[in-house]
């Protein structure tokens, strides 16, 4: 088990190097950022040349990449054009997005699994049908629609919450954005759980448990749910990465200065250090989330073991 985890962690190194290189090349392909720093005016050639030199932009691509990686290993992720260190940006944006993701995942888990279990156990009945229709509706509404509508209703019309999130972004302010972010995945979690439960309800081991005379509650939580959660956990694991990086729309609507917003800014301004730094950390989050999911399989199903 321990060796398995170490092996997996070691495998992350080549993935890390490969992904940073790919992202670096992609941002590089966006073009030279220096001219845009001068706004509508034509860039002053001498000043532009100095800035290019300072940013290593006058070097060939491979040298730029080596220089960048060299800096990363010294803990220097570069600087955004407004003079802020990328490490500072990372330190301010990631906790915010992580809190947002946490809110979203908790909502997904609690609401999604509950609804899934309820409808899975009552397959074909009214409850089941209404849950299915409801999830269908949720899946078909894009995030920016649900985001703006809920923001307007709760924030402006009924004025029960602040429509936007303050820079500190405490959990209480992230409830609505978290719900909006969770909505689509929530529907998927519900449907996955429902199918899985409906399937396992008819499994042999469950009939055995019933025959043994175990209480219904224990049958559902210990036997049925535990085995049915494997596909759901797989989904959530990949979803964590998607939620963190893909929250651009939600973050824009609710004024959350998180990862999505910073990456968007970085792309608009062609700032390679910002984009590469943020995406690299996202890659690591993805890798860790996947590792976690694989380990959770073993927790849920004792038949799975890692050596």
């Amino acid at each position: 088990m321990g060796r398995y985890v170490i092996r997996r962690l070691l495998q992350m190194i080549p993935v890390f190097i490969g992904s940073t290189f790919l992202i670096f090349v992609m941002v590089y392909a966006l073009g030279d950022p220096v001219a845009a720093l001068f706004g509508d005016k034509a860039p002053d050639p001498a000043t532009a040349a100095r800035i290019r030199k300072e940013l290593y932009l006058d070097q060939p691509l491979w040298k730029q990449y080596l220089h960048y990686m060299g800096q990363i290993f010294q803990g220097d992720f570069g600087t955004a054009f407004n003079g802020q260190k990328v490490t500072e940006l990372l330190a301010s944006a990631y906790p915010v997005t992580l809190r947002l993701t946490l809110v979203a995942v908790v909502i997904e888990l609690v609401v999604g699994i509950t609804l899934g279990v309820v409808s899975g156990l009552r397959r074909g009945r009214t409850v089941d049908t209404s849950v299915l229709v409801l999830t269908l509706v949720v899946i078909s509404v894009p995030t920016f629609v649900s985001g703006y509508v809920l923001q307007f209703l709760f924030g402006v019309k009924w004025a029960v919450i602040r429509p936007t999130v303050s820079p500190e972004a405490p959990f209480s302010e992230l409830l609505l954005p978290g719900t909006v972010l969770a909505l689509v995945s929530l529907a998927y979690v519900t449907r996955l759980t429902r199918t899985s439960i409906a399937e396992n309800v008819r499994a042999d081991y469950l009939r055995t448990a019933v025959a043994k005379g175990l209480p219904r509650r224990r049958i559902i939580t210990r036997h049925l749910l535990r085995n049915s959660l494997i596909p759901v956990i797989t989904f959530i694991g990949t979803d964590i990465g998607a939620l963190m990086g893909g929250a651009i729309v939600t973050e824009k609507i609710f004024n959350i200065h998180g990862v999505g917003y910073q990456i968007y800014q970085g792309i608009l301004r062609n700032n390679a250090p910002t984009v590469v730094g943020f995406v690299t950390i996202l890659v690591i989050v993805f890798l860790l989330a996947n590792l976690l999911v694989d380990l959770l399989y073993a927790v849920l199903d004792p038949r799975i073991r890692y050596a």
Partner: protein
């Protein structure tokens, strides 16, 4: 127990993932009385006077600094601020005398040295300041800012400190309206603290204006408070200003509606239809010093051969400006009839209708002119612009439709959208365009000179189309030598008439500044740079 070990490892992996994320947070400061809460965008560059060339950083400079002159928000006239007088006898050598008793908010005196040091810093190549070309007409600029290689001097020879209150400026050539340019923020004075500990200054800028920085969190907010020790005539009428960075102007507008924000100085395009019912008379829509044009690549022979001026004019006449500004921009743009801006006013050189018929929609005449001129090069025309902001895609489509309808030859006009502004800038700065492209121009100071010389004079710093015309250049030079402002303006307008003949750039529309505000504040106005005049805002 096997399950327990598994769980342990799972927890371990989670903690690795979480280790990097110490949960941040802080307390929100309670809203003090008389504070204006205003929307903001993250400034592109660090906030330094000579390095800020966009509106967001410009807002802060306007709150923190007062230069030698300041433009009256209503008339646009340059009035003495820190300067007591600026004298010249030959339009080339200027003597600047400062008012007495003025200080920076850290207690340092505002002296001649504060200006000379700041200007030398701004011009020096090693400091990589965006606005360094503003000092280019001072004698000795080429020594501190050579076109290539290292600087030959530390300071510009044209700047000499005479005493604590006086310094002299020698320009490279005659420039009669030079003192009028000094209201631009790049010419702000800097305290010695700026040079002694630059990093600390950037974290908490110190200036000589009506406000001081209380706290600054980069990328999210800046709290400015009225400075009691300010001695200028434009003391703050409110307790302070909180600038809050928004991810999106729609979000800021929502916060204004919900009462969490007092002032939004950029009303989002999709709210323009509702803004009058939402805000009533708390909505401002007035001309700013911004004009949008479509520039022809005059370096491309196909667009520059004799006879093509007719084609260029014809294209201009094929654009239905009235319809487009109404439909797409809800009248936040005004159809252009010259190459300046109404925010200059008549005295400053704006002349309505100077362009004449060439800027009036007339599809028949347009078609005739284009045919006379030999038709479009290759029978086609392609418009290029970045499309990441400003509804550029929408108007380009509309302009092309307008041209196609007027010419009646099918889809001869097409649109070439460019994803980011940075990419677009690289394309036009590389002088490799084969068709007309968008050019937006926000003037740095309310002078007609700034709308003409940098854009259309030979070798002009932002002459993206490489338009060259000896007669035009001659008139600009004459105007700059003219000592009488009215006569200078007349000469500039004479030069502008050549643009109407040659049409190197089609004026599309003047861009307005727009703002909306809550019922908690009053006396809100925008200056000609579409920045709110914060110091005059009253909070109820």
């Amino acid at each position: 127990m096997r399950g327990a070990t598994h769980a342990k490892w799972a927890v371990c992996a989670v903690s690795v993932a979480l280790a990097a994320t110490a949960c941040g947070g802080g307390s929100t400061v309670a809203e003090g009385a008389g504070i204006v809460r205003s929307s903001w965008g993250d400034p592109q560059n660090p906030i330094e006077p000579a390095n800020t060339n966009e509106v967001q950083g410009g807002k802060v400079l306007d709150l923190l600094f007062r230069g030698l002159k300041r433009y009256d928000p209503k008339t646009g006239e340059a009035e003495n601020m820190v300067a007591e007088k600026i004298d010249t006898t030959d339009q080339q050598n200027f003597t600047v005398t400062l008012k007495t008793g003025l200080t920076f908010s850290n207690g340092e005196k505002v002296t001649a040295k504060s200006f000379v040091d700041a200007w030398n810093y701004g011009a020096h190549i090693d400091n990589k300041q965006n606005n360094s070309p503003f000092f280019a007409n001072i004698q000795g600029y080429d020594d501190v800012h050579p076109a290539s290689g290292n600087a030959k001097a530390k300071t510009m020879s044209g700047l000499v400190v005479k005493d604590e209150r006086t310094f002299t400026v020698k320009l490279k050539e005659k420039f009669s309206t030079w003192p009028e340019t000094l209201g631009y923020q790049a010419f702000s004075p800097l305290p010695q603290a700026f040079f002694k500990d630059h990093d600390a200054w950037l974290k908490k800028p110190v200036g000589n204006g009506p406000y001081t920085v209380e706290s600054y969190t980069k990328g999210s907010s800046m709290k400015l408070r009225a400075w009691d020790g300010y001695k200028g005539p434009d003391k703050a009428q409110n307790g302070g200003v909180d600038l809050v960075v928004y991810t999106d102007n729609n979000t800021a507008y929502t916060d204004l509606m919900a009462g969490n924000l007092d002032l939004v100085d950029d009303v989002p395009a999709k709210q323009l239809k509702n803004v009058k019912s939402d805000l009533g008379d708390r909505y401002i829509n007035q001309p700013a010093l911004i004009i949008q044009t479509v520039v022809f690549p005059m370096y491309d022979k196909r667009w520059n051969k004799p006879g093509m001026e007719k084609v260029r004019k014809g294209l201009s006449m094929a654009i239905n400006r009235d319809e487009i500004t109404k439909q797409i921009y809800q009248e936040t743009r005004t159809p252009a009839t010259d190459w300046t801006s109404p925010a200059l006013h008549d005295k400053g050189g704006y002349e309505e209708g100077l362009c004449g018929d060439a800027c009036t929609y007339n599809p028949e005449q347009a078609k005739k002119l284009i045919d006379e001129g030999g038709g479009l090069p290759g029978g086609k025309v392609q418009l290029t612009s970045n499309v990441d902001t400003g509804s550029h895609r929408d108007w380009m489509d509309a302009v092309c439709n307008s041209i196609n309808n007027a010419l009646g030859k099918g889809a001869v006009c097409t649109v070439n959208p460019v994803g980011t502004f940075a990419d677009f800038k690289n394309q036009i700065a590389g002088f490799k365009m084969t068709g007309p492209f968008r050019s937006g121009w926000q003037a740095d100071y309310p002078l007609i000179q700034n709308f003409l010389q940098p854009l259309y004079a030979t070798g002009g710093s932002s002459n993206y189309g490489k338009f060259e015309n000896k007669e035009f250049d001659g008139l600009i030079a004459e105007a700059n030598r003219e000592s009488d402002p009215a006569a200078a303006v007349a000469k500039f307008q004479e030069a502008e008439k050549i643009l109407a003949e040659q049409m190197p750039a089609i004026p599309l529309w003047y861009q307005n500044g727009s703002a909306g505000y809550s019922d908690l504040i009053s006396d809100v106005q925008l200056n000609q740079f579409s920045v709110p005049v914060y110091d005059q805002i009253k909070v109820s």
